[in-house]
Symmetry: C2
Subunit: 332 residues, 2 copies
DNA sequence: TCTTGCATGTTAAGCGCTTAAGTTCTAGCA
DNA sequence: TGCTAGAACTTAAGCGCTTAACATGCAAGA
């Protein structure tokens, strides 16, 4: 363990070339002949050289690292987003490390501070609950981009999904299918819950339909199941759920009552999460476009590193994914 | 952004104390009077000092960082395990960073190498598919502990759940409930799949029951759903799934077909993951004891750092968690 | 009164790298 | 032939910290 890892100096000695030239060779900088570079690379491989990131960070004042602080690893939406971020960052030659806090503000902040201390080039926070003040303190040191969350730190770059639009799109899809009696299972104060509900209302009002058939209250499957029970007396013909999980809970309950989806009732979910997978290619849902979200987050970070200073708020439109849980209203 | 962060030197100047003394003060080392320490701490706070981890890592040849390489963020078992690791490590004064590869060997290796280059004090790999050779190369530089996966690198410390026992426990529970027609939805070559299946067979054989009703093949919800379709012709009365996700997929499909759980069919999952939450306090499952797994992984790492050199393989027994997805067989 | 010893510092070297500012040396050109 | 430009390096300073080795002053024991 730790058997004196070779350094640039060792390579320099072995090749008879100066440390500086070795460094330049290894990093592919101009100013070294191709023959020399090749020799250096060969010797480095032979010696099992690995560059010391601590040393190069210190010397160059750049680490080539970006940190991602994820609020909750269990949320598949965030997991997808982190994956997207990693992929894009890697393409830009940056390495990505994750920190997590499992919704514990203190631990989230720890992660953020670790990245700051590490001299990461920048940080992307994903669905965290860190306070605006704490973020601004960090942002003074290294650029912070918020993805899928909206801290009230005005000077930050932020990328979010337009959940209100998403709620509207889901509802409009059902209206276009001919449904008029549509209920919404809402998610209360959870992430995007309010906006999605507002979108539902927008769509219903725009079509002159009643917008007050709203039940539920949480982002859980139970909430979905309970909602179904609640409107058992006077069931709507279609439902907009605030998330796929909720939709799934509702559908499970409907199945138990012998209500077929979409035959007897159409259901739209939200998130296009992998949680929709159990129901196969089944659930019509709203896709939050994690790929775009992740890509833009990295791009905004790169722009900041490139010198931009004015904050950007970017709203990514969601996408309606029509599958098989919704169907046109049959004319009676 | 990056407005010349204060250094130890700045604090030294501001307090009129040497850099060395400032360093010792900030780290709480002996050799400095309490009065001086307090003064240093105050001035540091006032100046907004944050320690440069790159510099201290370089100088001390220790980073206080441990890396966790997670195979798949979407697997809630791994997410839980990472959480457990973070918590324990933090209690030992170590900071934890995550790297992920989303089951891409190359990207997993990238993460591992990043930690090596960062001079992390050690690495815990969680359910990754990195090859044994690659791991041993890294292990030569910094201690690597494998959790919930069994790379064939013999010199490594490893902590695993006794999945064979777990599979047996799940099956025995159903047998104890009076079931005799029990199927297993297996997970193929995925982590623990083989062992869980072997455990299923152990239990069935021990009770003289047929052990060949095995379907499925992957650790996905789809696989679970497909399995249900596969045995639609001659459904068993109980099912042992190789994971909660798979059980969940199966149950979703069962629900669609109007098959009640546990009324018409008992289902046991595996992992006791938070994914069991959508189904509330519902899914009977095998608990892999992530807390113990995570704690032991960190402890083994600390022991390595403390000087132990002989490899350890630790097997943690699982626990049966009886909930409401299984019920005694009704006598016909 | 003269050591000892401890508490409280200080000095200085150095961790492994990057980079600005030289130094050679060769080739091209008038 | 002499001059210059560029290619291909080398030198040396320094990034911000840690740490071993050394200094200093003061209380206590002989």
């Amino acid at each position: 363990m730790v058997p004196a890892r070779p350094t640039l100096g060792d390579i320099a000695e072995a090749t008879g070339i100066s440390e500086a030239a070795v460094s330049m060779s290894l990093r592919g900088l101009p100013g070294v002949s191709e023959a020399t570079r090749q020799r250096v690379v060969d010797v480095a491989a032979e010696l099992g050289y690995t560059r010391n990131l601590a040393a190069s960070t210190l010397a160059a004042n750049r680490s080539g690292l970006i940190g991602v602080v994820v609020g909750d690893l269990h949320n598949p939406f965030f997991a997808d987003l982190s994956d997207a971020i990693s992929a894009v960052a890697k393409a830009s030659g940056l390495r990505v490390l994750l920190g997590t806090g499992h919704y514990d503000r203190r631990r989230e902040l720890d992660a953020l501070e670790t990245f700051r201390d590490l001299r990461a080039d920048g940080v992307i926070i994903v669905g965290t609950r860190i306070g605006a003040r704490a973020i601004e303190t960090i942002d003074a040191h290294l650029p912070v981009v918020a993805a899928a969350c909206l801290p009230r730190a005005s000077k930050l770059d932020r990328v979010v999904v337009d959940d209100r639009l998403g709620g509207r799109m889901a509802t409009e899809h059902l209206i276009a299918c001919g449904h008029t009696d549509i209920a919404h299972i809402h998610g209360g104060a959870g992430a995007g819950g309010r906006e999605r509900r507002a979108g539902f209302r927008d769509a219903m009002q725009a079509s002159g339909l009643p917008d007050d058939h709203i039940v539920g209250g949480e982002f859980t499957a139970e909430s979905g199941a309970k909602a179904v029970v609640e409107f058992a007396e006077a069931p709507p013909t279609a439902v907009v759920a605030c998330s796929d999980v909720v939709a799934w809970g509702a559908m499970a309950e409907l199945a138990r009552h012998g209500v077929g989806v979409p035959a007897d009732m159409s259901v739209v979910g939200y998130d296009n999460s992998s949680i929709a997978a159990p129901v196969g290619d089944f659930l019509t849902t709203i896709d939050g476009d994690r790929a775009t979200l992740g890509r833009r987050a990295v791009e905004l970070l790169l722009e900041r590193l490139g010198g931009r200073t004015d904050p950007v708020l970017e709203v990514v439109p969601p996408r309606l994914v029509i599958r098989h849980s919704t169907s046109p209203m049959e004319n009676p």
